[in-house]
């Protein structure tokens, strides 16, 4: 938590804005957390999320290549209507793995499937470019060393217990 200073005008505006908002400690956040955990075990929701992820990747790849949906449909040899149904996440269209691979290959993307155990979690090593003598340097073993070392330390710790949600404000 940070205490910060704002003008009286901003403080007054914030008072007005937040006057009807309940205190965070009075919100039933455990119910929100539990509802999230339930959704993550719901095959229909997870499939819907993965479809959304796939469609988002298509949009990102189209943007990267500077092409629009018409051009992609033409390149793929399918109708614009069929592609639209995919892009609109139309429930009547079920993607097969063949469709996903075929379409992503049109966009120069590889497709990989991962099936981690549900108790397996992702650890991210952030390798951020740092300026060295006013020159930007690509991520290298040296710039990543600290993250890698932290990861190795963490990897040797016992797996964390999965605990129910607790009100725990981020730093």
């Amino acid at each position: 938590m940070k205490t910060v200073t704002v003008s009286r005008e901003d403080a007054h505006w914030l008072d007005e804005l937040l006057k009807d908002v309940p205190l965070t400690q009075d919100l039933d956040l455990e119910a929100l957390a539990e509802a999230g955990r339930v959704l993550d075990q719901d095959p229909e929701y997870v499939a819907d999320y993965l479809k959304g992820l796939f469609v988002s990747e298509i949009y990102n790849a189209m943007d990267e290549q500077g092409i629009n949906a018409n051009q992609l449909a033409q390149r793929w040899g399918k109708s614009r209507q069929y592609l639209s149904k995919i892009l609109n996440e139309d429930r009547r269209v079920n993607f097969t793995i063949d469709t996903i691979v075929d379409l992503m290959m049109q966009l120069d993307r590889r497709v990989e499937l991962h099936f981690p155990h549900k108790r397996q979690h992702t650890a991210v090593i952030r390798c951020v470019r740092k300026p060295v003598k006013n020159v930007w340097e690509s991520p290298s073993a040296r710039t990543c060393a600290e993250s890698v070392s932290n990861f190795n330390l963490m990897a040797h710790q016992p797996a964390p217990e999965i605990a129910p949600y607790e009100y725990n404000p981020a730093a």
């Binding site: 937040l18 119910a31 819907d48 959304g52």
Partner: protein, 152 residues
Amino acid sequence: MAKERKNVNPKVDIKIKLLNIPGLDNDCQSHWKIRALEINGRSLALAALKRWQARHQAEWKKIRKVMQIHGTQEEIKDGKKVKKSSNPDHGEVYEMRADKGHARLMFFYDSAEDSIIVCANSHWKGKGSQDADFATCKRLKDIYFNNKGEKP
């Protein structure tokens, strides 16, 4: 005659926090950490998420799906999921959208120290002005960044 004393300190202290979103695990936050902005113990974004989860399940699921997708992707080019305010006065403020639905979660990026998506407030399509809610997000963003000593 005693002079009327002027207020010499026209500033006020407030408390700002970034809160985890309950039920959103770290696996879907590999690119962006998704946080809710809390000011003086109250969070417009968390209150909206809680309200939607309790009363508008379908809308909450759609917003949660977009949060999960954006947490793993640097940019979202699909305008049905994430859209920037079209008002140039608002600058870089965005909304996560419940596709074909009403719920909108306004946010901005904080990539200076860490990669954070700061969810600031919400909008319900058909109720109130979307432009005004983007303006609210913009003002919250200004308060957030001005106090970090950075340009908004």
